[in-house]
């Protein structure tokens, strides 16, 4: 606000937002960069994102190139991670599985963030009976163990990857909804909201251009961490046969398929397991770093 460009015709109230945002974001990046563990997490995450995007070109074989004569071969120079019980190259399948797991992670979280934020903002901003209804619905959903709820949703919709994604999105809605709601409750007491209302701004515009951007920081942190748990949930559903269907190289399903060979071909289980562990670890480390960076209370 100190030196507004005279040529800038952007209305004043939006400028405030931009100014307020730019500072904290830059600070956050500075904080984040200093946090080595978070950087390690990001490297892991970006490595898997890279695999998810370019996996098709990296993987030496397809997802379902069965060679029954080559089944359960130990890791070797030809098959880096060994082969599974269909003689398929596990290295290729793990790489190609990154797209499925990350895809489910990202899109389910985006879905639950969008729906959860919408409900949370409405509940927080309007309060009263709207808040009561929405909050109680969240309470009811949170009262179920999440994986059980996911299983219930999938069994209604039928087992498939897309339905698993939907189920995971649904079970995470209340988490984001509550988070946003509590943030909105504090933000809406701020003076700039009162002034926006005083100059006659419509509710919808206030929600979208003031409250939402100012409530988003915790959602980004929670979203990153939620991707990690979404990946685990997708793997769990896949393991139970309720997620990705054969022959999709979903990591959880690969684990389930490998169960019978635990004793004589452990590599069928180790590599998909390690892949799940690493991605989840990556997202968790990155999420923790983001929390530290974005939390104003941590600023010293």
């Amino acid at each position: 606000m100190s030196n507004p460009d005279p040529k800038n015709l952007v209305p004043a109230e939006q400028e405030v937002v931009v100014e307020q945002e730019a500072g904290p974001w830059r600070d956050a990046w500075k904080n984040f960069r200093k946090n080595k563990i978070a950087l390690v997490g990001s490297v892991i995450v970006f490595f898997f994102i890279f695999l998810a995007i370019f996996g098709t070109w990296i993987a030496p074989e397809g997802i379902n190139d069965q060679k029954l004569t080559e089944r359960l071969k130990a890791p070797s120079s030809q098959y880096w991670f060994g082969t599974d019980d269909f003689g398929r190259d596990i290295f290729s399948r793990v790489i190609l599985g990154a797209r499925i797991s990350l895809g489910v992670g990202f899109f389910s979280v985006i879905g639950s963030v969008v729906v959860g934020s919408a409900l949370g903002i409405i509940a927080g901003y309007y309060g009263k009976w709207v808040d009561t209804i929405i909050s109680r619905i969240f309470d009811i959903m949170l009262a179920f163990p999440s994986i059980l709820l996911a299983i219930a949703v999938v069994s209604v919709l039928g087992p498939s990857l897309v339905n698993a994604l939907i189920a995971i999105a649904i079970i995470n809605i209340p988490n984001f909804g509550r988070l946003i709601r509590s943030k909105v409750l504090t933000v809406k007491q701020e003076e700039y909201i009162t002034s926006a209302r005083a100059i006659g701004m419509k509710d919808f515009r206030i929600l979208l251009s003031h409250i939402l951007p100012n409530s988003l920081a915790p959602v980004i942190v929670a979203g990153t961490l939620a991707i990690a748990s979404a990946i685990i949930e997708a793997a769990a559903l896949g393991f139970l046969g309720l997620g990705a269907q054969a022959p999709a190289p979903e990591w959880g399903k690969m684990l389930a398929d490998a169960r019978n060979y635990l004793r004589n071909a452990p590599w069928t289980m180790i590599f998909p397991g390690v892949a799940i562990m690493l991605t989840v670890l990556g997202f968790n480390l990155m999420g923790d770093g983001l929390r530290d960076a974005l939390d104003p209370k941590m600023k010293t």
Binding site: K36, F86, Y261
Partner: protein
Amino acid sequence: MRNKKIWSFLLFFGLILMLFLAACSSENENSEGNGEDGNTEGNSESSGEPKVLIFGRGGDSVNLDPITVTDGESFKVTQNVFETLVNFGEQDTTINPGLAKEWTVSEDGLTYTFMLEEGVKFHDGTDFNAEAVVANFERWSAGTADKYYYYKSMFGGFGDEEGHVIESVTADDEFTVTFKLKRPQAPFLKNIAMSPFGIASPTAFEAAGDSFGDNPVGTGPFKFVEWKRNDSITIEKFEDYWQEGLPKLDRVVFRAIPDNSARLNALLTGEIDLADGVNPSDSSSIEGDAALQLFERPSMNVGYLGLTNTRPPFDNKLVRQAMNHAIDKQAIVDAFFEGRAEVAVNPMPPSISGYNDQIEGYDYNPEKAKELLAEAGLADGFEMELWAMPVPRPYMPDGMKVAEVMQKNLADVGITAEIVSFEWATYLEKARNGEADAFMLGWTGDNGDADNFLYVLLDGDNIGSNNYSYYDSEELHELLIAAQSEVDEAKRNELYMQAQEIIHEDAPWVPLAHSTPLLAGKAELTGFLPHPTGSDKLHNVDFE
């Protein structure tokens, strides 16, 4: 601050590594420890403690009144609580004396006279005699198909019904029973040897009515103790058993452990003594383990991919034949049965008399399959659902995996198959209703007779019961009915051979494999002889 974080990260990683290594080492310790446990148990057993066999199996029984059920898990138990008039051989389906010590058959094949063992008692103290046998058959023949499925299936009906084979059962004197048949039935003796026809105590079933299965009373070597649903069934030695010195065990506990790997793990940790349904992939490691022994159940089954013959495009014979050419059965047998099976050509295994070994199976030939599809007007392939059973079966150790191989085989000839599965009971019901395009299923023979495979599984009469593929051929039906009442063995076999040719040509199924089911037990177990029907008599089993 930053240093601290790095240190905590390293510490965290170190902890993970330690946990991992600890897990590895404790596993080793466990298996060693268990070996020792096994030994000490063995020793204490020989020093006069009760000998208890814990038999791990895939599922719980449905009911312990054997006439009311059709599932193998029920018969596994009732086979030891009840006895039949005649018995199968120890490991085959030849006919041997049971509760009847000898019998005669009239020349026209219509009258069977049985001389019964004397001095046999039921577990509740009731005497076993001719009246008891008559009472049992009267009870069964007064039933309905829903109640006594096997009676209908083996003897053609109930009471005065036209199809009912048994005209009368009478007690001539205290230990002689005469059966009069309306028409000759070639496999009659094999039929009454089946587990469902175990003779029950008339006093007990009259008192209990429909709940007889909750407290079954027979003449067998073991008597029923308790049933914890979905967990275990306990039976114990019957002290007044009529055969001297038997049974050798004091108690048998049947435990349901659905997952094959978990069950084998239970055997390794000493929780159970004998495990049914061992994955073929585990067989080599069991053979290499001195504390365990591997049992092979003589093969009397068929695993197949049924094609619902009423659903397009499988209503077209060419498409069904194309499916037969498309699927690489040998590769499936080599990979998922570890070679412990033979590729199936006909709907019944070669050990059964009447098997037609002149028929050559459809070879694996994707090109031929494509030609046939083109001839059927489906050159571009089609989409279908491929149903795979959710549970391991003796004839199919891992349905899902085999389905994946078939899915790939079919994709190679342009058919897009989506693998579908349901919970087991739903799966059977839906498939029976003809809702599947193609479904994996199998059959373990009940009595080693060709009729028990061909008629039961493929005759139009059995649509809605065990003919899941809805295959209905008038020509086949005539042959099978003729064979049922043909008493001359050679002529009968000839009829079955013709029947198999018709089935081969019409290709209602893709026959996959005749497997050798595997069991594993502790090394000190003796006298266990797995029976091809899947119901094992445990009276000779002992611990060394």
